[in-house]
């Protein structure tokens, strides 16, 4: 007999099963994280969890065992038309113990449990044949999850041979039989109150079909020769049954293999497409049951899942996108800005704002307020330059610093500001440079060393300006604004300047010189086409020094505005800092950017040039009157910072020229630009002074 069996089998194909693909929902990882932090902590003991598999997928989808965030609640409802599967979660504390975990032993332990229940359990319905193991390690620092599923299956040593290969049910069953099968299955669901039944026994004749619970199998086997078993089959492939059949076949072989020669299997597949329910793609086939010797003991098991590459190994999933609070903060900030655009300013070009690289020269009252407003606009790239340390008087006026920052001599402002920005918004790309800006009339030629240092500082300033899109001048001395004003003018970078008096301020954009090529073609006839104070195009606008009739220097000569008075009304820096950023954003929205024609106070009644409104040259504020005016003024051809003569000398002689400026008295620049001459000839400087007199 045995020999004959063997010969028969050679010619028969073997049955193969479709393994489960593990499928996880993002919610599962969120819940695992929550439980690991709150409940499990360092406890590695296994936890009971549950998943489910469903029936009725469209063709082509992988056959899944799905775990959702509800997987940890054993009492949670299984989705309709799905079968539950219970499993054990082994969550390790370290990657090492994840790796070191004896996977073979875990599998064998689970196989033994299944085998013992098959050996002793009387009621097959209570058997837990579809169980799984899940080994995880949650790296909550990097939001990376390592995991490996196992779907333990008991192996029949020789496999199972097919007597009748799988064929669609419609080949054997008539439409009436299929309808009867559907009714019988629904009736059993109804009777048992389940929305899906994993295993059942089928009896059919030409004109009837009946279905009974798996518990009735014992009777069926004794009553008749041919037995048909039904499996709720999650697989959609036309030639293969899914994994759930595998352990059931072992069970039947183990218990009734001596009695039954063959077994018919109905892979029950039930799907509704476009409102039409269909069972016709269910499979029907017949297998030859192998004979197990009684002494064979616990069988070998298989079941560890392959990874995406088809190799035996764990999978890694990186969830930083949805779990890392830093990344979430970033997307929320962007959302806020987007909302502003959607609701109020549909044509706002946010990308242009967010991607603008801002260099903040000065990290004091103005610098702190400018930086915070830039963050509000979603600007990511912010660089501070300052050479001061935080002193005790600073924190109350400079919102990036705290009392602690003043201790022990005080932290460097540039570096502390960066630290604080990152705390406020980790997505910021902030940098700080503790750097002194060389100034006209502040000699650097005390020694070779000081000269070298000045050269280094200048070079760093040049590199910083060149690597940013906008330069904010926010220092508290006038002289320190000269070098960056001139470098930025030479590099054609947009400059936003803010300066404070006691209760007055000026916020302005420097004129943006045309590129050298354009310059030469239009240099003649440049003057005269625009009136002195209106419709001045961006390239003809003045800089901070254009209004001066003296060069900056180490003196306390008369000033039209600001910074000698280091005490200003406390609200002033916030107002001016905020206006500086808002001016930049408006200018960025103008199609011509820094070349935009300056808006004046008169334009307040006209159609605004950008979606955000006006693009003034200057905003001068008078807190005593709670009033702002928007003057515009032309570049001065004898300006000590932006005139052609100065830029030409700088571009030709570089540091050699700068050293001369630093080391000489202010008359050097005045001589160079002709200011000295002008001085002697006229007192007409007042024309440039758009001070408090402007009426609106």
């Amino acid at each position: 007999m045995a020999d004959l069996d063997g010969n028969d089998c050679i010619s028969l194909p073997k049955l193969q099963f479709t393994p489960f693909s593990s499928a996880l929902d993002a919610g599962f990882w969120h819940e695992l994280t929550r439980r690991k932090l709150n409940d499990y902590r360092l406890d590695e003991s296994p936890r009971r969890i549950k998943g489910y598999y469903c029936n009725g997928d469209p063709d082509g989808l992988p056959m899944r065992l799905t775990l959702e965030f509800s997987a940890f609640e054993m009492e949670s409802a299984t989705p309709t038309r799905c079968c539950a599967a219970t499993g054990l979660l082994y969550n390790t504390n370290t990657l090492e113990s994840f790796k070191a975990c004896d996977k073979k032993a875990l599998l064998q332990k689970s196989v033994e449990e299944i085998w013992k229940s098959i050996e002793f359990d009387e009621t097959p319905d209570c058997l837990n044949l579809n169980r799984f193991l899940l080994l995880t390690f949650a790296d909550l620092k990097r939001y990376r999850f390592y995991y490996w599923f196992c779907f333990p299956a008991l192996c029949l040593p020789e496999g199972v041979h097919l007597l009748q290969p799988p064929a669609p049910l419609s080949k054997t069953f008539s439409l009436n039989q299929i309808k009867a099968l559907q009714d019988a299955y629904d009736a059993l669901c109804c009777r048992t109150g389940a929305s899906a039944i994993p295993y059942f026994v089928v009896k059919y004749t030409v004109d009837s079909v009946s279905i009974s619970p798996l518990a009735s199998l014992e009777e069926e086997v004794r009553a008749q020769k041919k037995v048909t078993i039904g499996v709720y089959d999650p697989c959609t492939l036309p030639q293969y049954p899914g994994w759930p059949l595998r352990n059931l076949l072992y069970l039947i072989t183990y218990r009734w293999g001596q009695v039954l020669d063959s077994l018919e299997v109905l892979c029950f597949r039930d799907r509704t497409l476009q409102g039409m329910r269909s069972l016709t793609h269910s499979l029907l086939f017949e297998v030859k049951l192998p004979k197990l010797s009684n002494a064979s003991g616990c069988p070998k098991g298989v079941g560890w899942e392959k990874n995406q590459k088809g190799a035996m190994g764990p999978r890694i999933v990186n969830l930083s996108e949805c779990m890392d609070p830093r990344r979430l903060a970033e997307s929320s900030v962007d959302l806020n800005l987007k909302l502003m655009r959607w609701r109020l300013v549909p044509t706002l070009d946010l990308e242009k704002v967010i991607s603008t690289k801002c260099l903040l020269l000065g990290a004091g009252t103005l610098g702190c307020n400018v930086a915070r407003t830039l963050l509000g606009w979603g600007v990511r790239h912010i660089t501070f330059v300052d050479n001061a340390k935080i002193s005790y008087s600073n924190p109350v006026r400079q919102p990036l610093y705290e009392f602690e920052d003043c201790l022990g001599g005080g932290k460097s402002k540039a570096l502390a500001a960066v630290e604080r920005l990152r705390k406020i918004f980790p997505g910021v790309d902030a940098h700080g440079h503790h750097l002194s800006i060389p100034m006209p009339g502040h000699p650097v030629n005390f020694s070779e060393e000081t000269m070298q240092q000045a050269l280094k500082d200048v070079q760093q300033m040049e590199a910083l300006i060149s690597s940013h899109d906008v330069v904010f001048l926010l220092m508290d001395t006038r002289e320190s604004r000269w070098l960056p004003t001139m470098i930025a003018a030479s590099q054609r970078k947009l400059v936003i300047n803010a300066a404070l008096g006691f209760d007055t301020f000026v916020v302005m954009r420097h004129g943006l010189k045309k590129l050298p090529v354009q310059d030469s073609s239009t240099s003649s006839g440049d003057t005269g086409s625009t009136s002195l104070f209106s419709n001045i195009p961006g390239h003809k606008l003045g800089c901070y020094f254009c209004n001066d009739v003296v060069a900056p220097g180490d003196s306390t000569r008369d000033r039209t505005l600001d910074q000698q008075c280091t005490v200003s009304r406390p609200g002033l820096a916030m107002i001016a800092g905020a206006l500086a950023v808002e001016l930049l954003v408006s200018v960025l929205q103008h199609p011509e950017g820094g070349y935009a024609v300056a808006s004046s106070s008169d334009d307040r009644m006209n159609e605004p040039p950008t979606s955000l409104g006006l693009v003034p040259h200057q905003i001068r504020g008078f807190l005593s009157r709670f009033d702002n005016v928007l003057p515009a003024s032309l570049a001065f051809d004898k300006c000590t910072a932006c005139s052609a003569a100065v830029l030409h000398r700088y571009e030709r002689d570089g540091f050699q020229f700068l050293a001369e400026v630093f080391n000489s008295s202010h008359s050097f620049l005045e001589d160079l630009t002709g200011l000295t001459l002008l001085h002697q000839e006229t007192q007409a400087a007042e024309i440039w002074d758009m001070s408090d007199d402007e009426s609106i």
Partner: protein
């Protein structure tokens, strides 16, 4: 005045929301469309949910090359080949189907009491649970919607925390919903037709995110509304 009172009327109260969802789900059950109601334990709140699975290459989605390289690198660093060799055994009784990947789209319809409109919460993840980025979702949205999404009211897709689950989802922000729904509801009212708010709204918003409503909803759910 008249216009205002009419407009207020067109807002969706929470009770009407739940009723509309209930009617909607009833029809979904009839046609096996997969919408279910999920209630939040110990509250009378809940949301309507549907899960949609798609094969990964059904719409040209690919893992960004950069990410693939990073993944491979970490993998090789952390798992030596020999770690897992002892499990590498041929199981003749199972077929090898590795590489069959799919994307799970999850749609939640949640009531927003501040806007008094339904909000479409939305998330897509790989089979391993990794949510797709907005860019990856863009790729998955059908070609002709991309342009529409980049202009006008459709550009409201963004990330927000699910109010009932506390997990990050993408949403179509409700700030324009009322404005978009008003002409539809008004038109129906003028023609004395009953409209299920959820049906009308979802058939407008859904397609943007690859969620198409069978036409049968329109007739079935408006008929129920009359009951």
């Amino acid at each position: 005045m008249d216009y205002d009172s009419c407009n207020t009327d067109l807002h969706l109260g929470e009770k009407t929301f739940q009723l509309s969802c209930h009617n909607f789900i009833q029809h979904s059950k009839a046609i096996g469309d997969g919408w279910v109601w999920e209630s939040i334990e110990a509250t009378n709140e809940g949301y309507m949910k549907k899960v949609l699975l798609k094969m990964k290459n059904a719409f040209g989605y690919t893992i960004p090359e950069q990410q693939k390289i990073v993944n491979e690198k970490t993998y090789r660093q952390e798992f030596e080949v020999q770690d897992t060799m002892d499990l590498e055994e041929i199981d003749i009784s199972s077929i090898d189907l590795s590489g069959r990947e799919m994307i799970r789209f999850e749609y939640h319809v949640v009531y927003s009491s501040s806007y008094q409109v339904p909000v479409l919460y939305f998330r897509a993840c790989d089979i391993d649970g990794r949510p797709l980025t907005l860019e990856e979702i863009w790729q998955s949205v059908q070609e002709n919607y991309k342009e529409r999404l980049l202009e006008g009211p459709w550009e409201t897709i963004t990330q927000q925390e699910h109010p009932l689950l506390g997990q990050p989802f993408f949403i179509l922000h409700p700030c324009r919903t009322h404005e978009l729904m008003t002409p539809i509801l008004k038109g129906a009212r003028e023609e004395k037709q009953s409209v299920n708010y959820i049906t009308a709204w979802l058939s407008m918003m859904g397609p943007v995110l690859g969620l198409n409503l069978p036409i049968s909803y329109t007739t079935a759910t408006s008929a129920q509304q009359l009951d």
